[in-house]
């Protein structure tokens, strides 16, 4: 059924369709409406779940962990400072191999105080061993939440997922969204089968100490799982397409106009929609590669699709201070192994909610071959 909803509502309805049993939340702009919508769905009797109003985001994710080890699906949502406050708990969730799914409405981090959108919050959690998906539309948010449960809960993966969507540009904008039937999602996802859970009949220790002689092996298992997640993401994207008639590239990257592209633009999230309009109006052979899965990072896929491209513009809405844009670093490192390396430039755009204009995208494409880092549209 097609309905007009915001990205936040799409996130909430996506979660509801997956039937999480425990949803601990601490609302924060711009993700608040997701929590609001979920509480409404529970109050209406449309979702049978326990919503825990916790005292902080640190507690929200801790409560997810507590519930998930008891054998139920959980969900939470946050942004910005809230995600930053979860930082240490993120590593516990992934280290314990719990397939928690969390919505993140991407927003800048203080200081200066700023409540608007950029991707600094989630990208700063790059190394937390969570899968990270970046969405382009409200429809994709809903679909990705469903896919994320299926991917994370795969027993070869067992890592938590962040479903990231741009604060305000996606979280607060209403779009027509095709909401699947509950029965279809039930068939697609199935019941949650925990890999392990607390059970009085079979006592376990969860969250124990690992000495230096075993710690690395557990960490290596997480990396092996990330590698397996790459294949799982592709498979789930195909299965989703078969069931619901929608897919997003190969699941890892979403390519546009790349068949004979000489230049290419690489970015995360909703600004790729603006970029498509720009590229359509240009008389050049320019393609777009939207990185949908930032973790695991699609290095091989980028190498394949970028071989033959002469210049690449990587657009970043987050910066690693003292070095370069976050996505730019990753792309450059992935393409190092190409025999004929393209020129590659970095364009820092739209931090703290500044509009990403068509002119900024045009500037990026024009200067892709400069091998430089540009802070676009900044005042002197």
């Amino acid at each position: 059924m097609k309905t007009l909803i915001s990205g936040n509502e799409a996130c909430a309805i996506g979660a509801k369709l997956c039937r999480p049993k425990v949803i601990p939340v601490y609302p924060i702009t711009p993700s608040t409406h997701t929590a609001e919508k979920i509480s409404e769905l529970i109050a209406n009797g449309e979702l049978d779940a326990e919503m825990i109003k916790v005292e902080s985001e640190h507690s929200a994710l801790s409560a997810c962990i507590g519930a998930q080890v008891c054998g139920v699906r959980t969900f939470t949502v946050t942004a910005s400072q809230g995600l930053a406050l979860m930082h240490e708990v993120l590593f516990n969730a992934s280290g314990l191999r719990l397939p928690i799914v969390m919505g993140v409405a991407n927003r800048a981090l203080s200081a200066p105080i700023n409540i608007w959108g950029d991707q600094s919050d989630a990208l700063a959690e790059r190394d937390s061993s969570w899968l990270q998906f970046y969405c382009e539309s409200a429809q994709e948010i809903l679909d990705t939440v469903i896919q994320a449960y299926k991917i994370s809960e795969n027993h070869d993966v067992l890592l938590p997922s962040m479903v990231c969507f741009d604060g305000f540009t996606l979280s607060h904008v209403s779009e027509p969204v095709d909401v699947p039937e509950q029965s279809e999602v039930d068939e697609f996802l199935g019941d949650y089968i925990p890999y392990y859970k607390f059970d009085i009949e079979n006592p376990k220790t969860i969250g124990a100490l690992a000495f230096p002689d075993t710690f690395m092996e557990f960490k290596k298992q997480q990396e092996d799982a990330m590698r397996k997640a790459k294949e799982t993401i592709k498979i789930v994207n195909k299965e989703f397409s078969k069931k619901f008639g929608r897919s997003y590239g190969d699941g890892l990257i979403d390519a546009y106009n790349m068949e004979d592209a000489e230049k290419c633009l690489i970015a995360l999230g909703s600004l790729c929609s603006t970029a498509k309009v720009v590229v359509d109006n240009l008389r050049e052979k320019v393609g777009i590669v939207r990185v949908r899965s930032f973790r695991p990072f699609p290095s091989n896929e980028l190498r394949d699709i970028c071989s033959g491209v002469k210049a690449i513009a990587v657009i970043d809405r987050a910066f690693s201070y003292g070095h370069a844009g976050v996505l730019y670093n990753e792309v450059k490192s992935a393409l190092y192994d190409l025999k004929e390396r393209p020129k590659i430039s970095n364009f820092v755009i739209g931090l703290g909610g500044r509009d990403v204009r068509k002119e900024d995208i045009e500037f990026s494409i024009k200067n892709a071959d400069k091998n430089e880092i540009f802070w676009v549209n900044t005042k002197e």
């Binding site: 969860i206 969250g207 124990a208």
Partner: protein, 87 residues
């Protein structure tokens, strides 16, 4: 070695297998000839590494004694000596 995903320990009592006595660098030794068997060392040992043998004497299980020396501190007649651990 078993590496369960998530470092989950699926059999109870595994703590016993970790012989934490290897952490010790000072070793408490009870002089049984002078010990009055008051049991204060047994009460204070935070690791439960002091036990009573069949003869009713207190002994230290060096597999688990981490060498914190609380027993020596608490012994009211100071018959627990502190020696250097040699490995």
């Amino acid at each position: 070695m078993k590496f369960n995903k998530g470092a989950v320990i699926d059999e109870p009592g595994s703590t016993e297998k970790n012989k934490t006595g290897g952490w010790r660098d000072k070793k408490p030794v009870i002089d049984k000839s002078k010990c009055t068997k008051c049991g204060i060392c047994w009460v204070f040992c935070p690791e439960g590494a002091i036990y009573r043998n069949e003869k009713g004497e207190f002994e230290i299980n060096y597999d688990y004694c981490k060498g914190c020396l609380i027993c020596a501190e608490e012994c009211p007649i100071k018959v627990i000596s502190i020696t250097e651990e040699e490995k």
